[in-house]
Homo-oligomer: 624 residues x 2
């Protein structure tokens, strides 16, 4: 069954709360600043609260109608700033949904479903700049920045944990690899990180439904999941469910990579129902508007597409402006040439016209659009390697250096910017990517795809890439774009999306632990304690995927009784190592280290005797 | 369905050869020295030969009867050496299968199935030492060593690949992290590595069916899979199929962790039918012999068990001799105490008797047994951390230092030795484990379980640990013990075993690529080339799991025609980046770098003009 079928088979959105979990909020300096967290109630009476990307969908108290969209989170904050205005917006065209006249009936129906999702767009007033970076550089701490600070901190049970055992805290303290993460994230710290370009808060003024989050090396490592419209005609529930499913398992951002028909209307459905930032690759839609003929692309069509999507509320655009005409021939001797879709489209255009990319020549024009809506740049790596053999070659790094130049131009306009990275990179070449990016892109957030550490794992590339993702996340990458098991093979289905997200949550969390993010360890410690105390339900519920953990356990020990049993089917009752610990604890209570040492010496002498006597004391090996 | 059911449902062994693959042999200096490789025929007429762990089971030309066992590979080599003798061996006892009198009937039936698998055991002649290390130190290159050399080298298509592109070879050259892997592995190199204890060749003289392999940092990183007998009465096919299934997917070693009933007879079935080295944890069987009461264990019972298993042909024993009485109290303040089964059994014994571990006090007696059969030590880490919070603590490292002392004792007896390692270790603490092991254990091969980099992924610990396994493999670990998705939750079933093995083949291969093993890259390059040339069948067949790759692809593009289609359902025909490359190649053919530079300058000027004119040339963003 393919993706379409699996999602189509759903009649309703996935809305069950996580087991033993309730949604709660950390309230900020104003009543309408409420940061969501998921509180997990443990069977021992304790509570662990977790960073929550799932939005209102896991909140049983909220009624949601996908035809109306989500409630507004930050609309008031935007209006209060008084630097934006609402306006008519561009005229919707049939071509926006990739259709010619004859299909209008079908599109009309889809658009009718989206009627109540239409909003009057806002943009910056004449001469104004409404980016979070612009405010930050003027010393303004926005509600979005405070929201991010509270969200990164969470409720801080971890502090007690840390102080509880100094030796452990010292020993497991992470290695930040150049990151500078404070024990407490303040709104002022967020402002400073955004001002210097080391973090971005993707939040288009036309996407007031977004729950603000930050992407930067001094914050938790984030992950992105990609979704796209279905080949056949979609239903609004079906498209929104892809989003809901992705954020349920932990996607911090979602990119809508829709191509083909009705992508404008699908985007209305997605943005209006999304609590996470939405990214797109505008060249995909622009290409549809010229019938798929790359050579026919023009700046005017591309520019119109940027405005169309900015008005809908897309939070960041992947723009391959660093793929320049003179770099293309550098890919000629590669094992796998150009493997970026957007990159190949622009390379084709450049070659056909033998002209420099219009994305490069019009970069400042693009900045003017970005700052009018606060759309962030995700500068695309159109020349990323498609195999380990092509990793870190001149084509890749020439483009990366250009992305660094463009970052400076974007920052001149106070436009928030992150940099996309590879791709396929063997483990020993990963650090060099981070070093080059930090050096040339001035600590602008790095957003990498994987990287895949080997090329021979088709069907398992979520694992081959999670290894690279964890390492580069530790090294300083701010966001990891997930890879599903279907990478290189086909369109991911519902389960593939989940598998890819869980693998990337593992990579991102491993990086946070290694970096020493002060909020990262508490969940591991709480789960380990539950594991050691045989609190099975808590072990399941604190995991990244409670359902699967419980199902795996129940396959062999289904009885409820075994949920408190002091063993599992892996070792069985007789071999459960944890059962012995009580005895060890008692033993340790009686005898301190000195006693231990005394025992040590005593036994040392004893063992010497044994050895001396050894040979004779037992039946020799030879039995005759 | 649990493991038992799934395996029980099999009527026959899995024996299909891999797609487009044929078994061939590299013949050594004597006709009976034939090293198996798997030759994969590509659709472009090329052939890639792969390291093959699957034994005769994937060779359609070989008839196999599990009741008779595999054909002998190295029996003649052992006899030729003239330093061993066959002898009656110990008397088989009902207790060896963990049964009391009343169950003898059932066991009798199981043993009847194994009747033709009984062999007259061999042992060293009086005063002789028959370990590969002993021969190596005397300058003798055994057929086993030559076998290993040929096996590590393979057929060497990689050389052509490497020489084909110097720039690439230089760029992707690995970082050995202290390893010293020659371009060509010679039998003399293998001898030297074994002599200095930096590699072992697990090969009990009573396991002549084994296809020799090496475990050492200067060879390919190996992986181990664990199997165990089923809770219910087993059939011989069922137990052997677990082994066959594990080596089919790439397990280089298999540990039989059977507990409970009929473990002696199950072991006969497994060893006689195994082309890979078999390891065990003898304390498990010894504990069964004393009715599961750790306090009742004695050196005499343990020693008798070692001889029993050595006579059957077990290639290495996990022995937790480094867990000493004075270290136990160091675990008192741990988050998760002692998590090793063998470790907890010995800790319980030490505490109950308040005496030093008999494994430590009798270590030299154990060496005498090991060298009489060439059983290798796998010195167990009974105090490995069970959570990230306990990683690298004093309990763990005190034991590791003791394992270093014991390594010196084992080497005094020329007994081959490897060292077991953790466990649960965050990424930033992994290197310290390798450093400590190298420092205290004198480069004896490190054999680690994972390590798991985080604790919150129950149900996905094969991924959480593959990250750590890849990193520690790159750092110098010689063998990685797999972790399945069921870790911490229950008994792995057939699919879990496969998932765990594939995840670990990924980790091991990522490590080989990063270390720069000269034989590692060729498979990746061949697959990448196939991918780029849209040779789908070759892409599937060169992967770690051809079946899954093909199934994933066919879910969305089932037609045979699409096996040569220049796109897949992920991007579709219009967005396939690879389609553009021919144009890029032509373009590059016409214009060299100079031309590119000229274009660059030209465009640079042009873009300046555009910018100058920019503002006016296009409709301003504000439409009114």
């Amino acid at each position: 069954m393919n993706a379409t079928d699996k999602f189509a088979s759903l009649l309703t959105l996935t809305r069950e709360p996580f087991p033993a979990s309730t949604k709660s909020a950390i309230v900020g300096s104003r009543p309408d600043l409420r940061v969501p967290v998921r509180d997990v109630a443990l069977t021992n009476g304790e509570c662990v609260s977790l960073y929550d990307t799932s939005g209102p969908y896991t909140d049983a108290t909220v009624a949601i109608d996908v035809r109306l969209g989500l409630l507004d989170v930050r609309g008031a904050w935007i209006v209060e700033r008084g630097d934006t205005e609402s306006y008519a917006g561009r005229q919707l065209a049939a071509l926006d949904d990739g259709v010619k006249g004859e299909e209008n009936a079908r599109i009309a129906q889809l658009r009718a479903d989206a009627a109540a999702l239409q909003r009057t767009p806002r943009r910056a007033k004449s001469g104004a700049n409404v980016t979070q970076m612009h405010y930050a550089r003027r010393g303004i701490v926005t509600p979005e920045m405070e929201y991010v600070a509270l969200r990164e901190n969470g409720k801080r049970e971890w502090m007690a944990e840390y102080l509880a055992n100094e030796e452990r805290a010292r020993r497991v303290m992470g290695n930040p690899m150049g990151a500078r993460i404070p024990q407490i994230i303040t709104p002022e710290f967020v402002r400073d990180e955004v001002a210097r370009g080391r973090a971005i808060i993707p939040a288009n003024i036309n996407h007031p439904e977004v729950e603000p989050m930050a992407i930067g090396r001094n914050f938790k490592v984030k992950i992105n999941a990609n979704i796209g419209n279905s080949a056949v005609t979609s239903s609004i529930e079906e498209e929104v469910e892809k989003l809901v499913w992705a954020i349920r398992w932990g996607a911090d951002n979602v990119m809508d990579l829709s191509t083909g028909k009705n992508i404008h209307t699908t985007r209305d459905w997605i943005v209006r129902n999304s609590p996470v930032p939405i990214g797109t690759v505008p060249i995909y839609q622009a290409l549809e508007k010229v019938g798929g003929v790359a050579e026919d692309l023009t700046w005017a069509i591309y520019r119109d597409t940027l405005i169309e999507q900015a008005e809908q509320g897309v939070d960041y655009f992947t723009i391959h402006a660093g793929l320049r005409l003179p770099f293309i021939h550098l890919t000629a001797n590669r094992m796998t040439g150009i493997v970026s879709r957007g990159g190949s489209i622009m390379a084709k255009w450049c070659i056909a016209h033998h002209r420099e990319s219009f994305l490069y020549t019009h970069f400042e024009d693009i900045c003017d659009i970005m700052k009018a809506y606060d759309v962030s740049f995700s500068l695309g790596d159109g020349l990323r390697p498609g195999s380990g053999a092509d990793a870190n070659d001149e084509a890749q790094f020439a483009e990366l250096r250009t992305l660094g130049e463009l970052t400076q131009v974007a920052w001149k306009h106070d436009v928030q910017t992150m940099i996309e990275g590879p791709g396929h990179v063997p483990m020993h070449m990963i650090q060099a990517n981070m070093d080059e990016q930090l050096k040339h892109c001035h600590e602008a957030p790095f957003y990498t795809l994987g990287p895949l550490t080997i090329d021979i794992a088709p069907g398992y590339d979520h694992i081959a890439s999670a290894i690279g993702a964890a390492m580069i996340g530790w090294a300083g990458t701010a966001m990891l774009c997930y890879v599903t098991p279907k990478e290189h093979l086909g369109l991911p289905d519902r389960d593939d999306v989940k598998q890819g997200i869980i693998a990337y949550k593992i990579a991102a969390h491993a990086a946070d632990i290694a970096k020493g993010h002060p909020g990262a360890r508490s969940r591991d410690d709480a789960l380990s304690k539950a594991r050691f105390e045989f609190r099975w339900q808590d072990q399941f519920n604190l995991g990244l995927d409670p359902d699967t953990a419980r199902d795996f356990h129940d396959e062999t020990l289904p009885k409820d009784a075994s949920k408190t049993a002091h063993f599992c089917s892996m070792c069985g009752p007789k071999f459960c190592s944890m059962k012995i610990t009580q005895e060890v604890r008692e033993y340790a209570a009686q005898r301190g280290l000195d006693e231990g040492a005394a025992v040590f010496d005593g036994m040392h002498a004893k063992s010497a005797e044994f050895k001396a006597a050894g040979g004779e004391m037992y039946i020799p090996i030879r039995t005759e």
